[in-house]
């Protein structure tokens, strides 16, 4: 019975994975299908010809290498910033006690609950006032901290045992040292997960870059994709081709980080 349950578990997981993959596999097929046929052929139909023109046209139409570089630089800096600041703030909110802590945390929650387009115009005016339009600064700095990240790290850090912290403090460590030597090693797994999510969120960000970017030199990939969305015809094949190519490094990153993302930190740091 136990073995049956184990097999059932594995089969169900495989099934769910497949279901999640089906739409993606369809997109993959669309990359090699001439645009005119993408929507007229069902998932199991084979297109009339295997076509590489989507990939070719896609890469040629716009300077995607530039967009890719911009997207990558922005995403990497934003991700590092979010991971570091969320870890610090999560620690501060979870393990410290000081006046006004809960009051300040309420602001963090508010920031998470606010739809971005509501603050878009005031934020734009502010950033314009700083002179950061159409620049990397404008793309990076407003997104450098994440309320989601703070909240997430706080919840995870609750489960770090206080004894460890107290022991380190008794040993004479400053709080910062406790942070570096006790907290961070124990939080590697949620930090890696947060890093992955922050990277993705920055990579796909559309609304903010839309209003900040004024010229091709600071365009990001999602903005670049809109080159294919004419108001009279949409070049689906090319959009899928470029998205999938842009997705490859991100996917590789995830697969490489897989162990960090899902590992347990329960076995680390316990002495």
């Amino acid at each position: 019975m136990k073995t049956f349950a184990r097999y059932l578990n594995l089969v169900l997981l495989a099934l769910i994975t497949l279901m999640v993959l089906i739409p993606i596999l369809w997109a993959l097929k669309a990359v090699f299908t001439p645009t005119g046929e993408i929507f007229s052929t069902g998932i199991f139909d084979v297109p009339s010809r295997f076509s590489l023109e989507n990939i070719r046209n896609g890469l040629v139409t716009a300077p995607f290498l530039t967009y890719f570089k911009t997207s990558l630089v922005v995403a990497l800096i934003v991700t590092s910033s979010i991971v570091i600041t969320s870890a610090m703030a999560g620690f501060g909110f979870a393990k410290f006690h000081f006046k006004g802590k809960n009051f300040l945390f309420a602001f963090v929650i508010m920031a998470m609950l606010m739809p971005f387009q509501a603050i878009l115009i005031p934020l734009f005016i502010e950033v314009k006032y700083f002179g950061w339009l159409d620049s990397l600064k404008g793309l990076i700095i407003p997104g450098a901290v994440s309320a989601f990240g703070i909240f997430m790290m706080r919840q995870f850090m609750f489960s770090i045992p206080n004894e460890l912290i107290e022991a380190a403090l008794i040993d004479g460590c400053s709080p910062i040292r406790v942070f570096r030597q006790v907290i961070i090693p124990m939080a590697k797994s949620p930090l890696a997960a947060l890093g992955a999510l922050a990277f993705l969120s920055s990579w796909n960000n559309y609304l903010w870059p839309l209003v900040v970017v004024q010229s091709e030199s600071s365009m990001t990939i999602p903005l670049g994709l809109q080159q294919f969305r004419g108001n009279n015809a949409t070049a689906y094949g090319e959009i899928f081709a470029v998205s999938l190519i842009a997705a490859i490094p991100v996917a590789v990153l995830f697969i490489g980080m897989r162990r960090q993302i899902v590992s347990s930190f329960a076995t680390s740091g316990i002495k």
Binding site: I77, F124, S174, R229, G230, A233
Partner: protein, 431 residues
Amino acid sequence: MKKSIYQTWGATAAAFAMVSASIIAGSPASAAAKTTITYWTHVNGPTNVFEKDLIAQYQRANPTVKVNYLPVEWGVLPTKLKTSIAGGGGPDLFNFFGGYASELISKKMVSPVDFSAFGLKNGKKDLLKNYLPAVVNGFSAGTTVYGIPHEVSNHVYWINTDQFAAAGLSAADYPKTYDDVIRVGKILQAKPSGGLKEALVMPQYNAIRETLTLQMMARQAGGSLFSADGKKPQLDSASVVRALQMWGDLANTHGLNQPALGPTASNYPEDLFGAGTAAMNNTGGPWVVKVMSDTYPTIKYKVLQQPTFKGGIQAGGTLYGFGLFVPSTSKQKAAAWKFAAFLQSKGQDYFDKTGVWLGDNQTFKSAATKAYPSWSAFATNFAAGEFLPPIVKYSELIDVIDRAIQRVVLEKKSASESLAVAQSEALLLMR
């Protein structure tokens, strides 16, 4: 111990500052001391390529001017434009759908045309020499002109001749009335070929196009969605009800149109027509010819006039267009209008290379244009067609109409019921 906290903290802060400084240092330098004008338009592959060439030409002829060109996807162009204007900035020239002209003008977002910079000594009079009065009025408030027409198009009736032939239909069967459409549609669906799944594709998920179509049908029935001055709604009038009811019947009673097949929010009726999913399409102007040849080259089609009601009038299609505007926040208005004049002078080239007619009489009547595929059908339709009256609350009202159409087509309510609701919503908006 405190000292070490601040030391470590200081180090972290310094690192943070250094990273920020390197970002700042790495940002692109500001533009050289020329006049720079920024031109925003909507994404349209062939047009964008062509306009980049034009810009290169203009910059060579005017070495002190630099033009920053930014195509923005149509769906988000309003967002980007309005955010920028809110911040006191924005482009110097932008291309925008003409239906919004009254809205932009009433909200003071655009400046009147500077005719001397544009190069027309006698101002509006000279403009009227080359554009239809209806077109110029579409971009004016009262007597002041705020925009230069930059594309005029219409909706004609497209049919897939192969699918017609395969169903045993001949040229004599090409529909002229809605009764014909119904008869022919049923035959096409009984003998489908080439991937046909519905006889007729109608616009959806596109409030602008749906409004143009409903207005066309209302005019065929002898009425109009709005009064001629654009100030009063007539959504529950008999002709509009008849039009919307026919639309609903085509889909629900006769089963000739299946909304679930599309178009979706991101494709268009011509995509279904081009894929062979639908044999007939009632929207799309001369620019569709290029779409068909580029993306759907295997489809053989014919351009007809719009079928109308039995005893109704041949009302052409509803005309619509785009215009060039200068925002009131621009700091280079004269330079912008000068550049606009340059673009306008290239009407024939625009048409030849992109199938987009700028709306000027010169191109319309030229021999080169007459050689365009199916041109006589387009020209006939243009002659009978009319623009929508100028409407100030355009965005809100097309949404009202969109919802009214959805209630009939998707939720299968009656047109009179649905339009009664729409009329009361419209009255509130147009007080």
